[in-house]
Amino acid sequence: MEQKAKKGRSIISIIKNLRRFRKPSIRAVVPERLFEKCDGCGELVSKSSVEKRLFTCPECDYHFNISAKARMDMLLDEYTVINRLPRFTNPIDFPGYKVKYRENRKKSGLKEGILGVEGYIEGIRLVAVSLDNSFFMGSMGSYIGEEVARAFEYAGKRDLPILVFSTSGGARMQEGIFSLMQMAKTSIAVDRYGETRNLYISCMTHPTTGGVTASFASLGDVILAEPGALIGFAGARVIKETIKGELPKGFQRAEFLRDRGFLDDIVHREHMRDYIHRLLKLHGYRSCRI
């Protein structure tokens, strides 16, 4: 839907007036009600207080699921979409994929599960990408893999830092081996971007699993996560079946991963913008505005 403003597939539409977007940014919080039950603590919390805290619970800091667009809106001064329009392809002619795809578009109001933009944080230019798990659970099909790779190439060519928010159920089963190969494609894009010595910040949000965890999301120069985010390669159900037992407390949560050495830091959504900004400055990126 972000692409609505575009004139053609390869034309970048500069969006300065964010009000142009009609879709609601937040889905987890039903807009009709004043109070919402928090998934973290079960308390009834006021919608406006949650919104003010960038969709985190005032009682327990639970981080509500947000759309890619909401993510960009809260993080960037302004931005321009750099994704190409997705076109449905069915690489392994998977039965029923088209129908399912259409359903997902309808349900989510999105054309695909990724939003890539060029934008600014406190005047510092960067590329930002976010997956969106309301479309096909953020599963990585060819389009997402391609757009992730292109975002890295876009940033590398322009010597811009890149920031990627991941949330994904893993591979998109309906695209079979082509989905699997996106792990290689995106990892190679990270490698080539790395050659330009620009900064790649990966931020894992709830949930990030499977092929996304096992590719670009784990390859950031700096790897962050939102508090409580579920992060892992194998799914909890599969692991339980394998070990025939219960999972340890806090298993595959952000805090668990940090203690085991896989995250640089856990950053509260309210501090994310400041944190990223400091990181960018420390890596020599400067504001373009005077």
Partner: protein, 299 residues
């Protein structure tokens, strides 16, 4: 159908004592079945307990293999074997996933499912291959990465991602051979190669058919149906340009009967390697990375 074929062969062996006739009759039966194999049969063949395992492939293709251990970080993952040896007269680094034939062996080798230390062991050996300018041959037969608590704790996702990235930039020729099962990111993490060769009856898929059916249809028992739609056979993947070469197989249920298959595979590896060794390290990396860069990029 595979079980049926096996039984018919066993039956024949019991009856026919003339060796020459036995051979002819065997071939006849096999070719009759072979022409009718559906993907499900191939999955069964790929996983068949009597099918040569990666170690058998290594020992039949690599001369004087020396096996090395350990990731130099945490453990020696027994589900990954690797070392150095000669391919004809070229020193190469080989790496394989290690499946057992018996339950006992399989427990020891973790059913060919590596943990992070396995991928890191493979990476260590590959980096050493690069230092000494040795080509790398990987032999893949794995259901996938191990889905266990300890593997997650030690960063299964990180280990796979790191391997993919590092493999993609190694400055030596890499050839990956799918010998049996090639499942998921766990197989990909050992197969980011300049050339991918599949044995005719090996498979390569995003997930096991059982896992696939469970995720898509919430019903693991529909895995047979999954094999039909997953496009996991060598021929299908060859048609998709995912795989560079398919090695025709004589269907066999023993190491001995696999000899011709080994021979064909060896010839193919040597041929591919000859071509790759003429390239510069820069070309090798560029071509390898470009190949994956392009997959699924058409819109």
């Amino acid at each position: 159908m595979i079980r049926e074929l096996e039984e018919r062969l066993k039956e024949l062996e019991g009856k026919e004592k003339n060796l020459r006739l036995l051979r002819i009759k065997r071939r006849r039966i096999i070719s009759k079945y072979g022409s009718k194999l559906i993907p499900y049969d191939r999955v069964q063949l790929a996983r068949h307990e009597k099918r040569p395992k990666a170690k058998d492939f290594i020992e039949n293709i690599i001369v004087e293999p020396m096996f090395f251990h350990g990731d130099r970080l945490f453990a020696d993952d027994k589900s990954i074997i690797g070392g150095i040896g000669y391919l004809e007269d070229i020193p190469v680094t080989f790496i394989g996933t290690n499946k057992g034939r018996t339950l006992e062996e399989n427990v020891k080798y973790n059913f060919g499912m590596p943990k992070p230390e396995g991928y890191r062991k493979a990476l260590r050996l590959m980096k050493q291959a690069e230092k000494f300018n040795r080509p790398i041959i990987t032999f893949i037969d794995t259901p996938g990465a191990y889905p266990g608590v300890d593997a997650e704790e030690r960063g299964q996702g990180e280990a796979i991602a790191r391997n993919i990235l590092e493999m993609s930039r190694l400055e030596v020729p890499i050839i990956s051979v799918f010998t049996g099962e090639g499942g998921s990111g766990g197989a990909l993490a050992l197969s980011v190669a300049n050339r991918i060769i599949m044995m005719e009856n090996s498979i390569f898929s995003i997930l096991s058919p059982e896992g696939f059916a469970t995720i898509l249809w919430r019903d693991g028992s529909r895995y047979r149906e999954a094999t039909e739609v997953m496009k996991l056979t060598s021929r299908e993947l060859y048609d998709y340009n995912i795989v560079d070469r398919v090695i025709e197989e004589d269907i066999s249920f023993s190491l001995k009967d696999f000899e011709n298959n080994f021979l064909r595979l060896k010839r193919a590896i040597v041929e591919e390697l000859d071509g790759l060794m003429e390239k510069t390290s820069h070309e090798l990396v560029l071509e390898r990375q470009d190949k994956y860069r392009k997959i699924g990029g058409e819109l």
